[in-house]
C-alpha cells in the first residue's frame, strides 16, 4: 500500500488530443482557477450605476414583529432605499414547493432568528451593511421550538406530509424474532460551507426584463421565483451562472432569496444591484443539512440476521418545508443501505422548528438514513458478539446462497437488480488487509492504556435519480460554427464537480474533436429552459445524455449531407477521433462542417433526455424511484485518546463504483472530497444553537470543517474496475457526486470500534454524531461504566 507521504501523481497533460471520454482530463477551468482568472459573480466588472443591497434580519427566533422603524436605516450615509414586503409587486413567497410558507420578507410572524425583515440598498456594500444594523424593530417574543425533542413535546407540527415505507408485517416479525432491541440515535446537521457565499447580481433591462447572475444550482427555479416576486412572466427573467464556488446542495433553493431581493431592488431603482451577505449572515440565514433523531426497534437472531426493523426518522426541518419532504423521503429510501430487512416499517417525521429551514445537502437525507442502518448493524453485532463486518455481510441484499429468493426487495418495493455490495466489500476487505490489521490492533490496544485504535469497513449503496420523477430530464444546446469550433450549453451548473468538463468530453468524443475546440458556456435559462436542479448526483447522467442527443442530431444531418455530397453510403460515414471517415476518404471535421454549411445544413441542435424506467407512488410507498444504484465501501482506521476523546483518522482504504468512469481524475476528486466532507459532518462539524435560537457556530472560527491535517495519514482510493453500469447511462458511467460522502460512515464506526475496546468489545458505544472529542470521551466513559470496568 502506498503511503500518502510518498504519493507522486503522474503529471497529466491538458487535453489537446481527441478521444477524451474516459480519460483523466483536467478541469476545464483549472488554469483560470490557479491564476485567479476564473470569474465568480462578485468578480464580474461592476455595471454602470451598481448599487448594493443588504438584508436586515430578525433578532428573535419566534414571535411577532410589532413594528419596524426603518427611518434610521434610510437616514444612514450612502443609503438609497429600503425595501419591505410592501415593495413586492408580485408574490411575497419563494417556497420551492409552492406551499406559500416562505416569505421573502417577514411581515408579522417571525419564525427564526436571522429571518429577513427588509433590505437596504446603498451606494456601497459597506454603507448598506452598516445601515441594515440600524433598524428599530419591536418584537413580541414567543418561546422558540428549537429541536426534535422540543418539537415533539410541543405537539410535533410537521412542515410537510410524512412518508411511510412498509413491507411485511413488522409487528408480527418483531414479535417472532428471537431477539429484539430498541435504541435511538441523534444525527447532527451540517453547514455547507461553500467557500463562495450566496450572491446575486441583478441587471434590469427594458420594460420588465431582468437578468440575474445568481450563484445557484437551480437557475430555472431562481427564474420562476424572481418572476413570481416581480409579478412578471418567466420569459422576462434570465438567470445565468458560469460557475459557483461550491454548492453541495446549499444553492439548490437557498439562492432564491438573494436573487429575488437583488432583482426586487433592481426593479424598483432601475439600477443594477448586487447582494452578497457576509459569511456570518449567510450561515445565520440559510438552511443546512437536517439533523435527525432516529428511534428504532430491531428484531434479529443469534446468527446476526435481521428479521425486522421498525424505525422513525424525525428531522429538524426549520421554519418552512423547503425540500424537507424529499430530504426526509430520501432518508427513508436509504434506511436499508445495502441490507435486506425481511419485514420493515419506516416513518418520517418532518418537524417544524424555529431554526433555519434545512435544505438539500450532498446526499439529501440519504446519509442520515444510512448512518441509521449502520447503527442497526452495530447494535446487532454487539448484541450477538459477532464482528460488525460479518453482520453486514450476513444481511446484504441477495444474502448468502441457499437462503432462497426474495432477498432483493427494498422497503419501497424496488427490486435491487445491480447489487455488487458483496463483491465490493470482499475486494476491499482483502486489499486493505482487514482481518490481520484488526487482530494486530486489538493486540496492541490491550497493551496501550490510553490510546486505542479502531477499524471499520462500511459499504454504501446509493439510489440514483431524483425521487421527484419529473426532475429526471435535461436539455442541451450545441452549436457548430463554420470554423469547426463548438459552443456547448446545457442545463447543468458547474460548482466544481467537473460537470462542464465531463459533458465537453462527451461532445468531443461524439464529434471526434479536441476539447480545445469546444467552448463551454455559462448555464443560462435563455439557452436551455425548464432545467432541473444540478443535484441528486444527476448532472453528468442527465446533461451528458442530453448533449449527446444534440450531437447525434447534428451528426445525423452531417451524415445525410456527406452521403449525398460525396456519393457514399451513409453506413460508410463514421466520426472517428480526429477526422470523419467518408467511404475511403478521411475528411477533417472542419471541412465537413464548412461543406455542410455551404450545403445549407443546420449546424445547431437541442438535445433532450429523460431517464427511463423510473416511477414512484409516494402515497403507496411503492415504485422504482431509482434508475440504478452506485456502490462503494471504505475501511477506516482511527486512533483515539481515551483521556481526552481526541482522535486521528490514520488510514482509509476506499473502493468506489463509478461504473465506467467518464473521467477518473475528476471522479477520484469527488470520492476524496466527498469522503472528507462526510468525515467533517460526522466528526468536528457541530452546529450549536443557544436557548434563544441563536446560531452560535456561524463562522469558520466556531464551525470547524476539516483542514489539510485532518486527512487520514494514508489514503488509498481505487475506482472499481471493469464494472460498467448495467443500465445504458452515458458511457456506462455512474453518478459520483453524492455517494462517496457516505464512505465516511466508516470513520464513525472506526471511532466506535476504538471506543468499544475500553469495554472489551462487549458494550455497544452508540456514538452519536457529530463525534466530537467531547462525545467520544463521553462514549468511552459510558462504555467503561457499563462494562463494569
Amino acid at each position: 500500500m502506498a503511503d500518502a507521504r510518498q504519493r507522486q501523481d503522474p503529471p497529466i497533460q491538458p487535453g489537446v488530443t481527441v478521444g477524451s471520454l474516459g480519460a483523466s482530463r483536467i478541469h476545464d477551468s483549472a488554469a483560470r482557477h490557479v491564476a485567479g482568472e476564473a470569474v465568480y459573480i462578485d468578480d464580474i466588472a461592476a455595471p454602470e450605476g451598481l448599487l448594493h443591497a443588504y438584508l436586515g434580519l430578525s433578532r428573535i427566533a419566534h414571535g411577532r414583529l410589532v413594528s419596524l422603524d426603518l427611518a434610521p436605516v434610510l437616514a444612514a450615509p450612502g443609503v438609497v432605499a429600503v425595501l419591505t414586503a410592501a415593495d413586492i409587486p408580485g408574490v411575497n413567497d419563494i417556497s420551492s414547493t409552492h406551499r406559500h410558507d416562505e416569505p421573502v420578507f417577514a411581515t408579522q410572524t417571525i419564525l427564526h432568528h436571522g429571518q429577513p425583515l427588509f433590505a437596504v440598498v446603498g451606494e456601497t456594500r459597506q454603507a448598506a451593511r452598516h445601515a441594515a444594523a440600524l433598524a428599530l424593530a419591536v418584537y413580541e417574543e414567543a418561546p422558540p421550538v428549537l429541536d426534535v425533542a422540543a418539537a415533539r413535546a410541543a405537539g410535533g407540527t410537521l412542515v410537510t406530509d410524512p412518508l411511510k415505507l412498509e413491507r411485511g408485517d413488522v409487528a408480527a416479525a418483531l414479535a417472532a424474532s428471537p431477539r429484539r432491541l430498541k435504541g435511538s440515535m441523534t444525527i447532527g446537521g451540517q453547514d455547507h460551507f461553500y467557500l463562495e457565499g450566496q450572491i446575486a447580481l441583478a441587471i434590469p433591462g427594458e420594460e420588465e426584463d431582468m437578468q440575474v447572475f445568481s450563484s445557484t444550482q437551480h437557475p430555472s427555479e431562481v427564474q420562476h421565483m424572481v418572476a413570481q416576486v416581480l409579478g412578471v412572466g418567466s420569459h422576462a427573467v434570465t438567470i445565468e451562472v458560469r460557475r459557483m464556488g461550491g454548492g453541495f446542495g446549499g444553492k439548490e433553493t437557498q439562492s432564491n432569496l438573494f436573487a429575488c431581493v437583488a432583482a426586487l431592488a433592481a426593479r424598483k431603482l432601475k439600477r443594477p444591484v448586487k447582494l452578497r451577505p457576509d459569511r456570518d449572515d449567510d450561515m445565520i440565514i440559510t438552511g443546512k443539512r437536517h439533523d435527525f433523531v432516529c428511534d428504532y426497534e430491531i428484531g434479529f437472531d443469534d446468527a446476526g440476521h435481521i428479521h425486522a426493523v421498525d424505525a422513525v426518522y424525525a428531522a429538524r426541518c426549520g421554519w418552512n418545508a423547503d425540500l424537507s419532504g424529499p430530504v426526509t423521503d430520501r432518508a427513508l429510501f436509504h434506511m436499508d443501505n445495502c441490507y435486506f430487512y425481511p419485514a420493515v416499517r419506516a416513518r418520517s417525521e418532518p418537524l417544524l422548528t424555529h431554526t433555519v429551514s434545512n435544505t438539500a445537502f450532498r446526499g439529501f437525507g440519504g446519509p442520515q438514513g444510512m448512518v441509521g442502518a449502520e447503527r442497526f448493524i452495530e447494535e446487532v453485532a454487539f448484541a450477538t458478539g459477532l464482528d460488525p463486518l460479518e453482520v453486514r455481510r450476513r444481511n446484504l441484499y441477495g444474502g448468502t446462497p441457499g437462503e432462497g429468493p426474495g432477498r432483493d426487495l427494498t422497503p419501497y418495493h424496488q427490486t435491487v437488480t445491480d447489487n455488487i455490495a458483496g463483491e465490493v466489500i470482499a475486494r476491499l476487505e482483502c486489499s486493505c488487509d482487514y482481518r490481520a490489521r484488526q487482530a494486530a490492533m486489538r493486540e496492541a490496544n490491550a497493551k496501550s492504556p490510553i490510546v486505542k485504535r479502531g477499524l471499520a469497513l462500511t459499504p454504501v449503496k446509493f439510489g440514483i435519480s431524483f425521487t421527484a420523477t419529473w426532475y429526471n430530464q435535461a436539455g442541451a444546446l450545441v452549436h457548430v460554427y463554420t470554423d469547426g469550433t463548438v459552443m456547448l450549453n446545457h442545463g447543468g451548473t458547474e460548482m466544481g464537480q467537473g460537470l462542464y468538463t465531463k459533458v465537453a468530453q462527451v461532445v468531443a468524443q461524439s464529434f471526434g474533436i479536441g476539447l480545445d475546440q469546444i467552448k463551454i458556456t455559462a448555464t443560462t435559462t435563455g439557452k436551455v429552459p425548464n432545467t432541473s436542479a444540478t443535484a441528486a448526483s444527476s448532472g453528468s447522467d442527465l446533461n451528458g445524455m442530453a448533449a449527446l442527443d444534440a450531437c447525434e442530431t447534428i451528426k445525423t444531418r452531417l451524415v445525410a449531407f456527406a452521403a449525398q455530397h460525396w456519393q457514399e453510403s451513409p453506413d460508410s460515414i463514421v466520426f472517428r477521433q480526429g477526422f470523419v471517415q467518408v467511404g475511403a476518404r478521411e475528411i477533417a471535421f472542419v471541412d465537413l462542417v464548412k461543406a455542410a454549411y455551404m450545403g445549407r445544413v443546420q449546424l445547431s441542435a437541442t438535445g433532450f433526455y429523460a431517464t427511463p424506467k423510473i416511477h414512484w407512488d409516494r402515497k403507496a410507498g411503492r415504485g422504482q424511484p431509482f434508475y440504478y444504484f452506485a456502490y462503494g465501501a471504505a475501511a477506516a482506521e482511527v486512533a483515539i485518546d481515551t483521556l481526552t476523546g481526541e482522535y486521528k483518522v490514520e488510514r482509509v482504504d476506499i473502493l468506489h463504483d463509478c461504473g465506467t468512469s467518464l473521467n477518473p481524475a475528476i471522479d477520484k476528486g469527488q470520492i476524496e472530497g466527498g469522503f472528507i466532507q462526510g468525515m467533517g459532518w460526522l466528526t468536528t462539524e457541530e452546529l450549536v444553537w443557544d436557548e434563544k435560537g441563536v446560531l452560535k457556530t456561524h463562522a469558520p472560527s466556531t464551525y470547524k470543517i476539516p483542514v489539510a491535517s485532518d486527512r487520514p495519514r494514508i489514503v488509498n482510493v481505487a475506482l472499481l474496475e471493469d464494472a460498467p453500469n448495467r443500465e445504458p447511462t452515458i458511457h456506462r458511467s455512474k453518478a459520483v457526486g453524492e455517494p462517496p460522502l457516505m464512505l465516511a460512515i466508516s470513520v464513525l464506526h472506526a471511532l466506535s470500534d476504538a471506543v468499544a475496546s475500553v469495554g472489551g468489545h462487549r458494550v455497544c458505544p452508540r456514538l452519536d454524531t457529530p463525534a466530537t472529542p467531547e462525545r467520544v470521551l463521553a462514549a468511552v466513559e459510558r462504555v467503561r461504566t457499563e462494562a463494569g470496568l
Partner: protein, 488 residues
C-alpha cells in the same frame, strides 16, 4: 511626519493619501484595483481564500509571508510589497510552478479557495525546499478547501518543487526599493473615516499613545480586523505598531528571553521551540500560518482573550510583561495583567512593550495540552500548561498550573497547585489535585465545549502529564508533532 502611504503592489509603487485607516487589503485589491483573484470567504482570517504574500524588510533582509488580506488594514503594509495571485504568472503568460502543479494534480474543483491556496503554497515555495507532508499541512492549516479533501493539493505541494524553479522576479531590486521607502518618520494618514498613525520608534509610539489614550492599538490585526469586518466598528484613531523594528527584537538574556511585543508568532515559534517541544507544538497549532505571520506575542496578550492560546503557557513559565507609559516602564507578572473578562491592568496611555519569558528551570517537568474540536487551526476549549519543579528526593517543590478556557481569563490553578506541592509526583497526588480543581474553576458551557467536559479535561490533562513524565513507553497523543514523532 509623512502623510502618504507607500508600498509596492507587485513591482508597482503605490502611494495613497488620504486612506481609510481600516480599509482592508482585500477590499482595496478587489474594489479599488479590480484585482479580483483574491477572494473573500469568511472575512475573519479563518478560511484563507484571501491569502496574499507580503514581502517586508526584516533587519534589512527581505522576508516573504502569507497573510490574510481580509482582516489586514492596508496602511499597516506601509513599506511592504504585496503579491497577489495575479502576480504569479511569468511575463510570457506561463503558469508559475505552484500554479502548474495545482493544475497537473487536479488541485482545484470549485476554484474559489484556489487562489488563496496557491498563495500559501507560493510562500512555502519561496521559503522552504521540499518540506515534509506534515509541514505542508501546517502551511495550509489556514486554508479551507471544501471540495477536494486536500489530497491533490498536498500532491501539488510536493510536485511544485520538481518543476522549473527559476525565480522570475528580482528579490534584490525589491529589497532595494523597500529600503529606499523605509524612513523613521511617523506615518500619519487622515481621511474622513479617521486617522492612522504609525510611528517608527518606540519613543514616538509612547508619545502618541499618551497623546491619544483612546486610540486603538493595532499589532497584527488578527483580532482587531474582526472588530471592523464583523463588528462593523469605526476605529479612530488607529495607532499601528507595525513599523517599529525595535519592538520585533528577540533577545536571549541567559536565563530568560525578552520578546519585543511585535514579534510575530512565526518569529517567536523557533525561539520558544528551543525551550521545549511542547511550546513548539503549541505554536504550530496557533491559528493558521497566515495568522502566525501577522499576529504578535504582545497582541495576543494585550488583546485579553479569555482563551489566548499563548498566555497559559507563558503564565506557567512565569513570564512577565514590560508595560510602557510615556517615559516610564513597569514590569508585572503576566498572570496579574489579566483582571477580568476582557479587562486588563493596562493604564491609560500604556502599552505592552515586551514579554519576558524565563527559561525552564533545570529538573523541571513542563507540559502543554490544548484541547479543541478540530485539532489544527482551532481555538482551544481548554488549554493547560503545567510546570513542576521536583526535588532530588522526588517531592514536588513548586507547581505552576495555568489554564485557558476555564475562566474569563487565562488563570493559574492555585488550589490545585497547593494540592501538589510537597507531594510525590504520582497518581495519588494527581487524584487529590483533580479534587481541588473545582475550587479553582467554575467553567461555562459554550459552542466549544460543555462545562463538564472542560473540568474533566482540566483533570485528565494532569493525568496525561503524569503518564508522559513517568511512563515514557505509553502512547498518549494521537495527532500533531508530539504524535507524529511516533509515525516517523
Amino acid at each position: 511626519m509623512r502623510e502618504t502611504l507607500r508600498f509596492l503592489l507587485g513591482d508597482e509603487l503605490i502611494e495613497i493619501a488620504p486612506c481609510d485607516p481600516t480599509l482592508t487589503v482585500l477590499d482595496w485589491l478587489r474594489l479599488e484595483r479590480r484585482l479580483t483573484g483574491s477572494k473573500e470567504g469568511c472575512a475573519e482570517g479563518d478560511c484563507g481564500a484571501c491569502t496574499v504574500v507580503v514581502g517586508r524588510l526584516d533587519r534589512c533582509r527581505l522576508r516573504y509571508e502569507a497573510i490574510n488580506a481580509c482582516i489586514r488594514f492596508l496602511p499597516t503594509l506601509d513599506g511592504c510589497q504585496i503579491l497577489t495571485v495575479e502576480h504569479l504568472k511569468r511575463p510570457d503568460g506561463s503558469l508559475h510552478p505552484v500554479q502548474q502543479a495545482m493544475v497537473d494534480c487536479h488541485g482545484s474543483q470549485c476554484g474559489f479557495c484556489t487562489p488563496g491556496i496557491v498563495m500559501s503554497l507560493f510562500a512555502l515555495w519561496l521559503n522552504e525546499n521540499t518540506p515534509s507532508v506534515a509541514r505542508i499541512e501546517d502551511a495550509l492549516a489556514g486554508n479551507l478547501c471544501r471540495c477536494t479533501g486536500y489530497e491533490p493539493i498536498i500532491a501539488a505541494a510536493q510536485r511544485m518543487y520538481h518543476l522549473d524553479e527559476a525565480e522570475w522576479f528580482d528579490r534584490d531590486a525589491v529589497a532595494d526599493t523597500l529600503r529606499a521607502l523605509a524612513d523613521m518618520e511617523t506615518l500619519a494618514l487622515t481621511s474622513p473615516k479617521g486617522r492612522f498613525l504609525a510611528p517608527a520608534t518606540v519613543n514616538a509610539l509612547a508619545d502618541l499613545v499618551m497623546a491619544h489614550p483612546q486610540a486603538t492599538l493595532v499589532a497584527g490585526a488578527t483580532d482587531v480586523g474582526l472588530w471592523v469586518t464583523k463588528g462593523m466598528r469605526r476605529l479612530d484613531p488607529v495607532i499601528s505598531l507595525g513599523r517599529i523594528e525595535a519592538l520585533r527584537e528577540i533577545a536571549d538574556r541567559g536565563d530568560h528571553i525578552v520578546f519585543g511585543a511585535m514579534a510575530t508568532h512565526a518569529e517567536v515559534r523557533p525561539v520558544l521551540a528551543s525551550l521545549s517541544p511542547q511550546l513548539d507544538e503549541l505554536m504550530r497549532r496557533f491559528g493558521g500560518e497566515q495568522v502566525r505571520n501577522a499576529g504578535t506575542i504582545g497582541g495576543n496578550i494585550a488583546n485579553g482573550s479569555p482563551i489566548g492560546d499563548l498566555p497559559p503557557a507563558l503564565i506557567a513559565l512565569g513570564a512577565s510583561l514590560v508595560l510602557r507609559r510615556g517615559g516610564e516602564q513597569r514590569d508585572i507578572p503576566l498572570e496579574d495583567f489579566f483582571l477580568d473578562y476582557r479587562k486588563q491592568d493596562r493604564r491609560e496611555g500604556e502599552f505592552v512593550e515586551a514579554v519576558i519569558v524565563p527559561k525552564l528551570p533545570r529538573d523541571a517537568e513542563f507540559h502543554i495540552s490544548k484541547i479543541s474540536k478540530r485539532f489544527d487551526e482551532d481555538i482551544s476549549a481548554v488549554c493547560g500548561a503545567f510546570l513542576l519543579e521536583i526535588g532530588r528526593d522526588g517531592w514536588i517543590t513548586d507547581a505552576r498550573l495555568a489554564y485557558g478556557g476555564l475562566a474569563g481569563i487565562p488563570k493559574r490553578a492555585l488550589e490545585t497547585e497547593a494540592a501538589l506541592i510537597g507531594r510525590a509526583w504520582d497518581d495519588a497526588a494527581v487524584d487529590d489535585a483533580i479534587l481541588a480543581l473545582p475550587r479553582d474553576f467554575t467553567p461555562l458551557s459554550d459552542m466549544r465545549a460543555s462545562a463538564g467536559y472542560r473540568l474533566a479535561m482540566a483533570g485528565n490533562l494532569l493525568r496525561r502529564f503524569l503518564i508522559e513524565t513517568t511512563r515514557p513507553g505509553v502512547e498518549t497523543r494521537v495527532a500533531g508533532l508530539l504524535a507524529e514523532a511516533r509515525h516517523g
